[in-house]
């Protein structure tokens, strides 16, 4: 065939067809790269339009050429820019759906990668919501006059947040069984703020998205905690709370790990365990009290750290301090009791029981020191005992241990000092 004949035969339309076929092939390669090991079928052929849009980006053709040679990384990287600001809305729409499809495909086989893809998908949706125009035009074209324009615009604007709702439903579904998929969804909900940053969305949309994600995350964890709470209610109704609380509440510990150490689980445990711990405490059943609260030490320490680092979390300062007071009562040495008691007081300076037990510990410590100096006192130890008794009086003036301690102190002051 001559050159002229060839140019006549291969027309612009044929070039278009060839590019579409090549893009379809690149889509298959990209999908195989992203969803390796997954059994989900590749996206619809229309998704190949995304490849054409990626090729149009700077370095896009180079990335496509590399992908045709079997090196897909560069093409995949075009879907993962540090910011989605300035991306064409059509590409954002493709990316939102494609990344969601990748996330679905990897849900069972690679939950962590699924979560990352989900964040990319949500970020693309949020970037579309921020852009506004594309979604509004699409809504007008799709619904026409069937619903009024304002309602259509509202539906379009809310659509990106529907993905957050869907993620919440996925997290809730996986919460009771504490599945890997549920955990991935929960993780993604916790990272919606990152998606907002990626999408470069404004403060208003960011606040809405994060608020919605937090609510969904809380609902999913609530769904997981509900059976534990119900089992505990049942045990209480049967008068078996003390006997069964350890087993029932113990289920909250793996849940806490599953939920990535979520604060709501910490609140739940503290709320439910304290009344039962008090019952056991009043019976002076120290071994049972230890058995009940020991499995939750890490969880309580986590809550304490949150409260110390954020003064707004004051609502749980008292209950958390009470858990530390229980722990201090079970410590084996006076020094360790004082150390844990100090943590309780630091967490909640007005905590009545904390101040009471701390005053008691300080008096015990001063009394022991003074009793060890029956003939000659060491000035340094005397000063320490004086300070401890003074602090005990400040913390809890009506402590019954203060008067005997002060009497010992007066006697010691009359002895020779070195």
């Amino acid at each position: 065939m001559s050159g002229d004949a060839a140019s006549v035969a291969f027309r612009a339309e044929d070039e278009v067809l060839l590019r579409r076929l090549e893009d379809d092939d690149l889509l298959a390669r990209l999908w195989a790269w992203h969803a390796a090991g997954a059994r989900r079928p590749r996206p619809h052929a229309r998704a190949a339009g995304m490849i054409a849009l990626l090729r149009a980006l700077p370095d896009g053709e180079h990335a496509a050429a590399r992908a045709r040679e079997g090196h897909v990384q560069a093409l995949a990287s075009l879907l993962e820019p540090p910011s989605l600001a300035g991306r064409a809305p059509e590409l954002l729409h493709h990316a939102a759906i494609y990344c969601g499809e990748v996330a679905d495909a990897l849900d069972e086989v690679k939950p962590e990668q699924s979560s990352a893809a989900r964040i990319r998908s949500i970020a693309a949706w949020l970037a579309l919501a921020e852009e506004e125009r594309y979604l509004a035009e699409l809504a007008r074209a799709v619904v026409g006059d069937a619903i009024d324009a304002a309602e259509a615009a509202r539906l379009a604007a809310d659509a990106p947040l529907d993905t957050v709702d869907a993620l919440g439903a996925r997290a809730a579904a996986g919460a009771r069984s504490q599945s890997a998929q549920g955990r991935a969804a929960l993780h993604a909900l916790a990272r919606v703020g990152d998606a907002c940053t990626l999408a470069a969305c404004g403060e208003a949309l960011r606040a809405r998205a994060i608020r919605r994600a937090e609510a969904k995350r809380a609902a999913a964890i609530e769904a997981a905690l509900t059976p534990i709470g119900e089992a505990l209610d049942e045990a209480e109704a049967r008068g078996e709370a003390q006997a069964r609380a350890g087993d029932v509440l113990g289920r909250a510990v793996p849940l806490w790990h599953w939920a990535e150490y979520d604060e709501a689980v910490e609140h739940f445990v503290v709320d439910r365990i304290i009344p039962i711990a008090w019952e056991i405490y009043r019976e002076h059943a120290w071994a049972r009290l230890r058995a009940l609260i020991a499995p939750f030490e890490q969880l309580v320490d986590s809550l304490a750290a949150r409260i110390r680092s954020d003064p707004e979390k004051i609502a749980y300062a008292g209950p958390c301090a009470q858990m530390l007071v229980f722990r201090s009562e079970l410590e084996s040495t006076l020094a360790r009791q004082i150390a844990v008691g100090e943590r309780a007081i630091a967490l909640c300076p007005t905590h009545r029981n904390g101040r009471l037990v701390m005053a008691s510990y300080l008096c015990d410590s001063a009394t022991r020191a003074l009793q060890q100096m029956p003939i000659i006192v060491r000035k340094k130890d005397l000063a320490t005992a004086e300070a401890q008794i003074a602090r005990a009086e400040e913390l809890y003036p009506s402590s019954p241990k203060i008067a005997p301690a002060k009497q010992l102190l007066d006697e010691a002051r009359r002895r020779p000092a070195i």
Partner: protein
């Protein structure tokens, strides 16, 4: 925005921007072509979902990859031979039935003759066949 069977706009090749009427047309065509009741029931359910609930239609549209591929153009023009026939400028070569084609048109009962491309061709080797011969009939059908 899509169920486990996939997005309805993608599954049935629908363009969400064309509106409810186009969706109805396309799904009706598909229902007419459907070979079993299950498929027809599914098509009806999809039609109801997409046409009777605009909000759901929008949700499904948002969940479908947009059609951003460049539009396919016209197919290539017909080969020159066909163009010549359409134009009435029919050369005698256009009527030639190549031996390989003719062999395929010959009833199976007829034994193949020894390979002699030009000598074996009746048109080249003998007067043109009459309009009633099977070969000429098939040739006309072939070029229509």
């Amino acid at each position: 925005m899509s169920d486990e069977r996939g997005n309805p706009f993608e599954r049935y090749g629908l363009d969400p921007r064309e509106g409810a009427r186009a969706i109805t047309e396309r799904l009706r065509e598909l229902a007419e072509d459907a070979t079993d009741d299950t498929a027809r029931t599914e098509l009806r359910a999809t039609w109801e979902e997409l046409t009777m609930h605009p909000a759901r239609r929008l949700r499904a549209a948002l969940g479908a990859h947009p059609e951003t591929r460049p539009a396919l153009g016209a197919p290539p023009p017909r080969p020159a031979r066909a163009a010549a026939i359409d134009g009435g400028d029919l050369a005698w070569r256009e009527l030639v039935v190549l031996p390989s084609v003719r062999a395929g048109l010959t009833p199976r009962a007829a034994a193949p003759k020894p390979r002699d491309p030009w000598g074996d061709d009746r048109i080249l080797a003998s007067p043109a066949p009459s309009a009633e011969t099977p070969a000429s009939k098939e040739t006309r059908t072939d070029v229509r």
